[in-house]
């Protein structure tokens, strides 16, 4: 009769495999987890956020992959892209593949590093599993979008673009920032702030957007990744709990990281806000509604739980509350103006969409944005579609062009400046300036697209040289949706008005 082992004990035996090294000193074997100042008294106090041995992992994940790839194959075989609401929708996917999928890869590498370098074995194993999951996500996303790439522009050089194109510097610098930080800061940045607090603001808009717009391939990925994401959330929460309970000196460090990373994440999500409110032909909810549900309500409850450790809601939360009325409109305006240098299409909303925006933003849309957008639409219809030919000033921290307004005055652009080593650095907001001011020696190195272009590091002088350096197919990857090959092909496939007779328009 076999002795019984409970799950918890059994899992410990399956993962606590380390030993105190003696032929090489422990601090040489684990050189990275002490320099940030986080004090760990006892790694044994780490509570496993989930208990999955490798055989179970292979079994469940293999099963999920089998199903997901079957759906992707069926989607391709049946030309599933013809069932989406409208070809404008595809731009949300372009943004995802260019801006988010490379971050999944970055997460894979970041969690691999922590999965090797945390001294505690339980934390290592959990990070290793997340590292594998993130590899799954980047690869399944590339595979899922592979079909769209065959029929639409704006997908085909995503990796090249991610390293170069100005608006992709926003997500790239975010993850470079996290991956160049120490292991504990990485866990607060990605494990907690991004995967736990903000994930619903990234994942849900894209996946619900896919569901609302008939994209069964992407929505299947979303469902399939859900259980992975649930594991990632529990890891992020455990990492925070562990740091806070290990030593009271950790609390102010963790608080500063939470403040920094929720803001960094929030600024990345401003791209998502524009996607939600403007790119989706059928919108499941507005950015403002999503912010209220997922940050103000759910995040509020979380911070109530963390209050017992002395953790408080970042004091800039009030700025976000004010900005939720403006964010998506301002970002869409920036993207619209700079579409000549972007691998997405933009357009001005039609009347139905404008009315939806009025309804969702009763206090701001009609007052500040509708008149502007209607004017731009009229101009475009009269053949004067405006494309900015100049380079914008970009925030040194979040790298978004400085088009945001003062929290209390939506008619005044918000500018902040710091000086460091005799140079001036520009910021879009107080929190972005504060992040720089705390670590100027890090943020002064940021690879700033406009400055790099002016220095001649992006193909040469003038927009055409830069776009060639970007490897854009001109007039296909960039510019307005109206008049694009995407539009022409869509009309042709769907037999819609304005379809050009003849063959598919190749870019």
């Amino acid at each position: 009769m076999a002795n019984k082992l409970n799950m918890r004990d059994r899992y410990k035996l399956m993962t606590r495999l380390g030993w105190e090294t003696s032929y090489q000193p422990m601090d040489k074997v684990f050189p990275y987890d002490s320099y940030e100042g986080i004090k760990i008294k006892d790694w044994d106090a780490w509570e496993d956020p989930f208990r999955m041995t490798m055989d179970a992992y292979w079994k469940y994940q293999g099963e999920k992959e089998k199903k997901l790839y079957a759906i992707m194959d069926a989607f391709s075989q049946s030309n599933g892209h013809l069932n989406i609401s409208d070809a404008r929708y595809v731009n949300a996917l372009k943004l995802f593949l260019q801006g988010v999928s490379p971050l999944e890869y970055q997460a894979h590498r970041g969690f691999a590093r922590q999965g090797r370098h945390f001294t505690g074995e339980g934390a290592r194993v959990a990070c290793q599993m997340q590292s594998l999951d993130e590899l799954r996500h980047v690869q399944t996303q590339i595979h899922g979008m592979s079909h769209f790439n065959k029929y639409f522009d704006g997908f085909h050089d995503f990796a090249h673009w991610h390293d170069r194109v100005w608006y992709l510097s926003v997500p790239k610098s975010f993850f470079d920032d996290a991956n160049t930080a120490g292991p504990f800061e990485f866990m607060v940045a990605i494990g907690f702030s991004f995967e736990y607090v903000l994930t619903n603001l990234l994942f849900v808009p894209f996946m619900s957007g896919a569901a609302y717009n008939g994209d069964m391939s992407t929505v299947s990925f979303g469902f399939s990744a859900q259980s992975d994401e649930a594991r990632h959330m529990t890891l992020g929460l455990e990492a925070i709990r562990f740091m806070l309970e290990q030593h009271e000196d950790n609390v102010p460090i963790v608080q500063r990281w939470i403040d920094k990373w929720l803001w960094r994440g929030y600024k990345v999500l401003s791209l998502v806000s524009a996607m939600m409110d403007y790119m989706l032909p059928e919108s499941p909810m507005s950015w403002k509604e999503a912010w209220e549900v997922y940050f103000e309500q759910n995040g509020g409850a979380l911070f109530n739980d963390l209050a017992r450790y002395g953790i408080t809601v970042p004091d800039y939360a009030e700025i976000c509350t004010k900005e939720k009325e403006h964010l998506s409109h301002q970002v869409w305006g920036i993207l619209y103006n700079h579409t000549a240098a972007a691998a997405i299409h933009t357009w001005m909303p039609d009347d139905a969409k404008m009315n939806w925006l009025s309804e969702k933003y009763p206090d701001t849309f009609d007052k500040y944005y509708r008149p502007r957008f209607e004017y731009w639409r009229d101009q475009a219809e009269n053949g004067n579609r405006y494309y900015s030919q100049t380079l914008p000033l970009v925030c040194q921290t979040c790298q978004i062009p400085m088009g945001f307004t003062e929290p209390d005055d939506p008619t005044q652009i918000s500018y902040r400046v710091s000086e460091y080593n005799g140079d001036k650095y520009h910021f879009c907001s107080d929190p972005c300036k504060a992040i720089f001011d705390f670590e100027p020696e890090k943020y002064c190195h940021a690879w700033m697209p406009p400055q790099q272009i002016f220095q001649g590091n992006c193909g040469g002088e003038g927009l055409p040289a830069v776009l060639e350096h970007y490897k854009f197919n001109l007039g296909a990857d960039n510019m307005d949706y109206v008049g694009s090959p995407d539009e022409a092909n869509w009309n042709l496939w769907k037999g819609l008005n304005g379809s050009v007779s003849g063959d598919v328009k190749a870019s």
Partner: protein
Amino acid sequence: MQIDIKAKEVKPIRHTYSHIARRFGEDKPATRYQEAVLDVQAVDNFHYRPTWQPDKELYDPTRTAIIMEDWYSFLDPRQYYYGTYTMARAKQQASADQSFKFVEKRNLLDQIPTDVKQTILDYVVPLRHYEWGANMNNYQICAMGYGAAITSAAAMHGADRLGNAQYITRIALALSDNDTSVLDNALAGWTDKTQWQGLRKLVEDSLVVQDWFELFVAQNLVMDGLVMMLFFEKLEAQLVAAGASTYAMLTEFIVDWHAESMRWVDKQISVAISESEANADLLNGWFAQWTDAAQGALAPLADALFDNGSEVISSITESLKSRAAKAGVSV
């Protein structure tokens, strides 16, 4: 007879991603493996210096001394991306699980003579710590390596090593009727018993190797090459002859896994060596140095396990050398 299903024909405007088409020299369909790994890692315009290694870029080809014109030459002959990898391992684990159930249900391990059981507990079970070291080293290769082709495969290989450690743990628990003290004893053997100290020192020395490709040679070619042969060929044959054939059912996962993984390991070695003479010199040096150290480290274990320990060590070293020579190493 053929049935023609009429479907709307919609012509694609391209067949794969441009970074892949540039590698092909033309736009043609790519495999899922190719799309999953090629050029997936960022290579240019990093924003900040790593606070944990400020003299390098975030992804930096100079974390190893070898130099490659194209880091995506390190392709995987198994063409593993996450999907094919997990589906393959899921199948293998199902069959391993079947074996464990079969053996446990019939109490087949009771047939193994006590002294043979003890040999397994003393001389195989401590390898769960060896596998843990191998897990760490492969995640190090993933974290510090360059190019998504070799680093993604290293992550899977690292996960495999955790799996191996867990299968060894299961064997120990099955042999002892879930008496967890056998694991404590195995740890004590690993940390304190004279015979294990050579191997433990070798593992600890590998944990501080800075050059990730040297680490690849040390761990995945040399140390694994010798350790797998010593314990899962030579010792296993001796154990089976002494009445432990059911035990061999439980190591099947590890044995099959090693046979499969060698294809990947040897391919990476041959790619690095055939790139340049400078690379070949480095690999030859690393191979010689680590083989020398590993031979010495394993000698006390071989002496404890075999009447002709030194012959066993020579024979497995010769096998490793001929395997390495096939991959291009000058031995």
